[in-house]
Amino acid sequence: MTRCGVSMVVEPGSTQVTKTGAWRTFVPVIDHDKCIKCSLCEIFCPDSCIHQVEGNFVPDLDYCKGCSICAHECPRGAIEMVLEDK
């Protein structure tokens, strides 16, 4: 079978090869001491890229587009958007 296959079929979740983090200007920085683990940042992230790692919520910078929804919705103001030095 060729790469195109015969049914135009694509493997699940395969957009993960594309690192949309390159789009970002500002990067979310999470203050884990302020964080109350409400998980709203994770729920509202359009790019499904904030996850709990060893108890703390951490953005996956491979995909984070820097939209700042997490910072806006954090009820404790624990997330700051910082201009990224690339």
Partner: protein, 394 residues
């Protein structure tokens, strides 16, 4: 055993023998009897399938895209305006490589509105990536039905197909036909086993979009599959003949063609009339014969070259017009022979538009015109004619 049956009834029974999982239909004249008979077969418990009445032809083919992607063997039938409404779904089904089979009843396209037969509708979707086979009589449409499933579902083909049959002339005729034996159909038609299906256990994506770095390759693969179908159509026709005792010659068939100086080329039910005309003209000593096109897409270029190479004149008779430039079959045949050493004059006649009856006397006149071209040479104005225009109507 031969039984007299209405064409549509016989087609519905042939569909039954192919055991479709999903049948999705919308009524349109003169296709309706096919889907009515199918619904009765389901109501009687003689066909175990999911049958739905949908909101349009657009939806009938769209729903079959879903059903086929979910692994179902699928069937629908339409004609004319319904086929036109399906236009973008046709391209989509073939591009997604879904082996849907459809009986396409040939009928004129509006305006003016006409419920009567010509072949403008299917010629109009020539480039949609569907296999198109044209049948001469009811038996041939019946026999094509399992053959088309076999061809479309072949893993090397995976291309949808349509069996084209002339509206009223074949759908509403009562004639003796041999009904198919479902057990024998199973011998030539294995169960549909698609490579990819919509399944949560193996969650694939169907119908992704292709940017310019991919699109050409998809079309190329479709083109190649259609080329492979050229071989398979003949092979399946032979297999069918071995099992059922009826064969149709594969891509094309010929009649009194071996020594013919005047070769008529045509397709569909008019072929029967032409054969009768050939018999009569032969008795008068006119060396006329017939090449019947069965497969229009894929187009049987090599078979046609072989069949037409010794003719003195070729006359193409078809029921469609490309307003602006002649007609589809004529230009395709000219194209097929152009880059060869075959230098036979080719003329075309558009007949039977919107259900105008084509009788033997018209075929005789066409042969006379073709004969004149043979003797006097080809002039541009004699190359193509909308045949039988009544000046009193103009």
């Amino acid at each position: 055993m031969m039984r007299v049956a209405e064409g549509s009834y016989a087609i519905a029974d042939a569909v039954r023998c192919c055991s479709p999982d999903v049948v999705s239909v919308y009524p349109i004249t003169p296709q309706t009897h096919i889907v009515e008979h199918l619904s009765q077969l389901v109501a009687n418990g003689e066909l175990d399938c999911e049958y739905i009445n949908v909101d349009s032809e657009f939806s009938s083919l769209s729903s079959l895209i879903g059903a086929s992607a979910a692994g179902a063997r699928t069937y629908t039938s339409t004609t004319s305006q319904g086929l036109a409404l399906m236009f973008e779904v046709l391209y989509n089904a073939s591009g997604m490589r879904l082996p849907i089979v459809m009986t396409t009843v040939n009928r004129a396209l509006s305006a003016p509105l006409s419920i009567w037969n010509d072949q403008q509708d299917t010629f109009g979707v020539r480039d949609s990536g569907w296999i198109q086979l044209y049948a001469e009589n009811v038996q041939e449409v019946m026999d094509l039905t399992p053959q088309l499933y076999r061809i479309s579902e072949d893993p090397d083909i995976l291309t949808p197909s349509m069996a084209c049959m002339d509206g009223y002339i074949l759908t509403h005729v009562y004639e003796p036909v041999e009904f198919l034996d479902p057990g024998l159909v199973k011998e030539i038609l294995p169960p549909f086993s698609p490579v990819n299906v919509l399944d949560p256990e193996d969650p694939k994506t169907f119908g992704a979009f292709a940017d310019p770095s991919w699109f050409t390759e998809f079309r190329y693969l479709q083109y190649k599959a259609m080329e492979r179908a050229l071989d398979l159509i003949g092979k399946v026709d032979k297999e069918f003949e071995e099992t059922f005792g009826r064969g149709y010659g594969g891509l094309i068939d010929t009649y009194q063609a071996d020594d013919a100086e005047i070769l008529l080329v045509s397709l569909g039910s008019i072929v029967g009339t032409i054969k009768d005309a050939v018999d009569v003209l032969r008795k008068e000593g006119i060396k006329v014969g017939l090449v019947k096109i069965r497969s229009y897409r894929p187009f049987p270029v090599e078979a046609l070259k072989e069949a037409l190479k010794d003719a003195s004149v070729v006359a193409v008779i078809e029921k469609d017009v490309s307003v602006g430039y002649q007609s589809a079959l004529l230009t395709d045949i000219k194209g097929a022979l152009y880059n060869t050493s075959i230098r036979v004059p080719i003329v075309g006649f558009a007949v039977g538009l919107g259900g105008r009856d084509v009788a033997m006397k018209q075929i005789r006149k066409i042969v006379e015109n073709a004969s004149k071209v043979k003797d006097e040479g080809l002039e541009l104005e004699t190359e193509f004619e909308i045949f039988g225009v009544n000046p009193e109507c103009l």
